[in-house]
Amino acid sequence: MRFATDTGGTFTDLVVEDDDGTITLHKAPTTPSDPVAGVLDALRVAADARGLTLAAMLALGDSFIHGTTHAINAIIQGRTARTALIVTTGHRDMLLFREGGRTEPFNHAHAYPQPYIPRALTFEVSERIMAGGHIVTALDETATAQVLDAIARADVEAIAVALLWSTLNPVHENRIGEMIAARFPDMPYSLSHCVNPTLREFRRASSAAIDASLKPLMGTYLGSLEARLADAGFAGRVMVLTSAGGMVDACEVAAQPISAINSGPSMAPVAGRHYAWREGGFDSAIVADTGGTTYDISIIADGRVAMTRDLWIGEPYRGHLAGYPSVEVKSVGAGGGSIARVDASGLLHVGPQSAGAMPGPVCYQRGGTLPTVTDACVVLGYLDPDFFLGGKMQLDAPGARRAIEAHIAAPLGVSLEEAAWSIVDLATEAMVQAIQDLVVNQGIDPTRAVLIGGGGAAGLNSTFIARRLGCPRLLIPETGAAMSAAGAMMSDITAEFAATVYGNTARFDGDAVSAAVGGLAARADDFIARSGRPGGTQFIAEARYEGQAWEIDVPLPEAYFSSPAAIADFRARFEAEHLRLFTIVDPASEIELIGLRARVQCSARDSESDFKLTMEQTEASPKGSRSVYFAGAGRVETPVWRLDALTPDRMFDGPALIESDFTTIVVDPAARFWRSAPGAILIEERRS
């Protein structure tokens, strides 16, 4: 038996996989001050459902897989360790300069951001390595010892080291690491070339600083998690999800906590990849995970979860650039709580202001007075005021109508329904624009991709989003409301190792590249051995045309550059990828190799699994009907189905509403739908 949890802001989701490969979903409220308590509560719910004690169920478990926002929340809330940064002399302000760039050129209300490590805690050491990797100024160890004295006086809890060109020649960073270990035996420290060996010193320094600052806190947190699970009766492996969409043993995250910084959101696409393949063999997909305040989008391209090197903590340009590779998850500030308003000149706006959970939408009756997207869904008839969250919460439909009438319909001069539809339409538009930016960046064609809607609110407008994007199919997985936890259960044990190595197709230094490949392969093999599971390694070249600034990832079957044929093969693979992403190739240009990465993947389970959700089939008949407003059609009496009452593989025409305890799916008159055998809802355009 295996357990996978995803700790969200409101609920902790749990997926339990039984030994026959079937899974079940459970939820418990999150305790913000003690996330482990929510995990244990969810486990208790699962044990109750099986008629077991918590200890008896945990005793059956082989592994516990944990997604956590503990690291990123600590950064956002400023609870990380007091950390010093050591840099090359002359470059103390590395974290202050950042990489430039800004949004909203005429908005002067935002002061320049403070650096991640204060300037007062940033220290210079005399040393310099050149672009080729050779040393022009040797490390001044006497001065370094004095810097460590100053750091001792500064009363810090962790140290980061980021020297120029340490990726090509780590000798100085390593030596400083030894000096730190000797001077402060218990002090956690992070060396930039180990944490994030990339050719951009700001990103490397930022990653090292964030990593070091998280070590004390994450070490304590994960230690406590393991101890409390052991106390409760669990004797298996504790695994933690990483930003790269895989999992590793908790001790690996404690040693490099930045690897788990985007731990939670990176799981939805892992689940999405599984469902996209299962429901129609799609190898490209757009995965949306909806919450009350945000709409998170990720991409599957060529069967791979799309990654980014531009992970921001906080708003782009105004927050901190982590610089660390992560699954690309774009978050749009549009959700059920987004507030609609009409400005003085008559234009409708939806968001970015949100009513959040408190006071929440008007219909929640918690004091909200401004109309939101959820209120619009009530007015349109999408949401049943008497059956919200399976009837757990009564909604105030007249309140929602009054708010939309007063704040939107009257100033726009349109009917109540038209006003409500406009709110949903504009929120849809914001989501569509964000998806379109992302599909361009990741080079996928939405007209050949499936749209996957996860999270409780995905069903409300995903039909409209799929149509705008031209996606041939919309898929609402049976685990939709707990898609991240399901993704955690599906993920493999993975790690990625990187090396900076420069090459150019005009003049390849085969020896340097071979040495880098050898080093990566050794680290990969070591990781596979540590994981104790069967695994394999894939190499990825980071490459670009000569003169370009942004490199692209080129998967390589074998990382050899020793013969002209191998270099020709490298060029062919690079150009295929460049064509896919940018629609152009330039055969006259040389290609530069900037770095290599080894991606290690070890299977977390002994056999393949289809992760079949245990569902009860109930009687196949509509639950009734209600009046729903659709643009272009007006009010239509619309059948309402219980999700678990739909006969598998039978096609129905829209309009329809499909309800479960977690979600409502809206199918408009132009669409049709069916339930697949494993329990997903699939929606397509009706054939005319």
Partner: protein
Amino acid sequence: MTSASFNGAQMAVLRSRLDGVVRAMSNTLLRTGRSGVLNRARDFSCCILTHGGDLVTAADSLPIHVLSGPDLMVKSVMEFHPDQRPGDAFLHNSPYHGCSHPADLSVIAPVFDDRGRHRFTLLAKAHQADIGNSQPTTYMGEATDVYNEGALIFPAVQVQRGWKDIDDIIRMCKVRIRVPQQWHGDYLSTVGAVRVGERNLTALAEDIGWDRLEDFAAQWFDYSEARMAEAIAALPAGQVSGSSTHDPFPGLPADGVRITSHITVDPDQGRVTVDLADNPDCMPCGMNLSEACARTAAMIGVFNSIDYQVPKNAGSFRRIDVRLREGCIAGIPVHPFSCSAATTNIADRVANSVQTALAGLQDGIGMAEVGAVIAPSAGVVSGIDPRSGKAFVNQVFLGMSGGAASPGADAWWTVGHVGNAGLCCIDGVEHAEIVQPIIVHRRAFVPDSEGAGRTNGAPSTVIEFGPVGGAIDIGYLSDGHINAPVGVRGGSAGGGADQHIIHLDGSSERLAACAQVHVEDGERILAVSCGGGGYGSPFERPPETVLRDMAEGLISAERARTIYGVAARPDGSLDSETTRQLREPTA
């Protein structure tokens, strides 16, 4: 033609969809451009105009590129090519016909419906690494005229017919522009951006209808105009004059050039007038403004001073009257006066004169002065790379700050200059060292150089760098040494610019403000950029913020005491009593 009007919800959706078309264009340019000035510094802009040349949207483009200019360029294309066809595209960089300056090579393409009617026009403008000047720089301040400047100038010259290049033009460029392969890569990116825009706009029109899209544009202009009128109505009525003085450069008078703007704010009518006619005539140098930059710089000063949410398009622009004089250095240039550096130096002085003048109207309005440019740390470097034996030329962005204080917030430090607004990126040290044969010895902010105020301007940057393995040339035009960025409403000036060369023997020599300098292997350039001015009295700055800056080593204890009136105890905590006394008004 239908006359159906859109409600506020439909307008919001269409606005978003048109912005999406522009973002797809920009993304293409960023990700495929070859020269650093495009792919790292993002010195490019994309926009959609009506077929008649009214700017519809230029989402998040560089302000100095797009507020005015695209409109003038499209009108010149129509004048020279009254019979445009689908698949046509035109090269345009003539400052005498609407372009900002010759380095901003633009591709303009009309978009037709399937019945052959010209509906909209797309424009992508990209700052080139080189444009064929007589010197390897794209900002040739010392150019005595356009002939001495030597740029290839394209006054709306057709470069594509039937979506295919007219190769005559491409060949001309390849023999006259340095590092032609890099140029051609950038050209392909720019054309690619326009064609991506054409494809996406056409798809949108298939969904919405061309007539409806045109109706939307008209109604969007009216909405934007109404928003602009509201924003101006929130200002106090009045007439103010502002000035900002450019340092002496080759071809400029010995005491520099004082730029003056006379501004009238009429909140009742919802109009602002900026009169730039009271300025000197064109001068025999590369510093003359193009009409596009003169107009745009004045508008930037206005938009920096009002509600930032007003859409920037032909509708809101109706509420700003910019009065220009032909033959004026900050007006409409007369051929053959050179406009090589029109987007930066004098243009920055125009925008600064407007926003500092507006700050004089009332507390809470306007901004302090943004620092001047272009220090050698953002200069154009060229030479032969000893590692490959190949020629290179590129603008580097090693360091710049310049941000001015606004009424409500400290500056965004790395704005570059007022016309850029901080959108440009800064080169990573390692990246710069791999792309060019240089070493960056030092890159820092300069303590005690911030423009002190209730809110602060940025501190200066200092960059020390030089060639590795061979000599390089570097061109720059560094304004702001004598006329550092001023503060407003009691705020102080930010740090001024300066530059030196450090020879192999360690001796140092001050360099001219505007020059093309040859730097030998092992020598170093030491470049100090301008900071930015402060807003309001430094005595009103919260003491805890002053102490934070002191703890960070950004200001000295002496400066905290004398400039801000804040005293700290030896442990760095606030000495409230002394601070109170220091801040007491002197009788």
